[in-house]
Symmetry: C2
Subunit: 231 residues, 2 copies
Amino acid sequence: MAHGPERVALAVSTVIFALRPHPTTRRLALWIPLVRRIRAPHQGTWALPGGPLATDEGLAASAARNLRETTRLAPRYLEQLYAFGGLDRAPSAAERTVSVVYWALVRPEEADASVATVNVKWFVADEHPELAFDHALIVEYALWRLRNKVEYSRIAAAFLGETFTLAELRGVHEAVLQRTLDPANFRRQMESSGRLVATDEFRTGGRHRPARLYRHDESIHLADNGPLTGL
Amino acid sequence: MAHGPERVALAVSTVIFALRPHPTTRRLALWIPLVRRIRAPHQGTWALPGGPLATDEGLAASAARNLRETTRLAPRYLEQLYAFGGLDRAPSAAERTVSVVYWALVRPEEADASVATVNVKWFVADEHPELAFDHALIVEYALWRLRNKVEYSRIAAAFLGETFTLAELRGVHEAVLQRTLDPANFRRQMESSGRLVATDEFRTGGRHRPARLYRHDESIHLADNGPLTGL
DNA sequence: TCAAAAGTGTTGCCGATACACCCATGG
DNA sequence: CCATGGGTGTATCGGCAACACTTTTGA
């Protein structure tokens, strides 16, 4: 009779989200970078960036390092998604692996050199190719969490700069939620959330009234490290 | 210079909740079983039940097995809480451990033999003694999740039998949330949630009008195995 | 017939939505 | 002066909390 592997390997993977225009519709959409597997199993198919946990780094640090190595970007937001450890995650011949998966938000404007690496390619998040292992399920779950969380937290800020107009912030929400939002009601929602601080600067340039710039209340921490940071 | 351990150990622990009367107030309260550590580090202090992940079992299965071994009970509800993997979880001399923690709800009425084991003792959840490692933080986080989730899911059912009155169900909610709830509004909330099915039986015996018995809609699954079971 | 809990009705408040409407700017 | 988005006002709707009230039992 067959029996399991001798030890359980521990890996950390990350679902990395960025906002860029959709190639056909030109409207903002969520993108994720995938890595082409260079070894069996699933050699040649796309997979989430990730790797084994180093013995001298924490789980979140491992995710951040992997993110940096894959995209040359620093995460603007990083949160644990789930630990996947089913027995059916890989072909029976493969080593038994438990993956702690994180999801992250990045701002890709700065360094589009992120596309440089050959084996890394960005895809529109809900138009990705077939993925290795259970990674398609993981991406779907991460998308669900992101779309959920954008409605009651300030994570949308992670996609924007230091200051931004309400229209820009609304654009992020609309891209994530994939539906249009009423500008008037969105404004009131944000104003009453207590998370925004109005500056006395304005963004001019459009052929319309200049829009006031806002920043986020810095006394509220963005990162959600689960039970570790307050919550 | 010192360096980290050579490998990372993977353990699974579980925060197990049961409802029983508080020893002094006699009102329903949340209890958790703790295990006295029989070896260093933290020898002699109380800790969450748990142990290393077997190579031939999934994460949730490991939590369920551990729960059964600790309490002789089967979980009525089981959900992953978080994966803890910081570098500061244990004294530097100890082995580096990543713990995948689950939380569970059980119904202790059936087998109070659960208290039999010498090194296992039940405590009121928010009156527990000092705990080993970061387990106090974990218990707090699990309590937060439970109290959150009881408001929008049907997990309270896990503390009750097949059928129950609305007063019994309300009692569970009140014990978890630690506040009284308006019976009239609670009734309407439950009725409009679509999760309850009225039976044509009644609970008699009190010196008051008999209460209708309800059961939960079986077409809705109780377990939340995260992304695995369709959420 | 009375206490106590089951169950129903009613009201007022608050937040969210829909949408009409003014404001300020570039062209 | 007009098109465009910025920004404000307002009516409506629905859910929820508070609480008065009726019903039905055991003692």
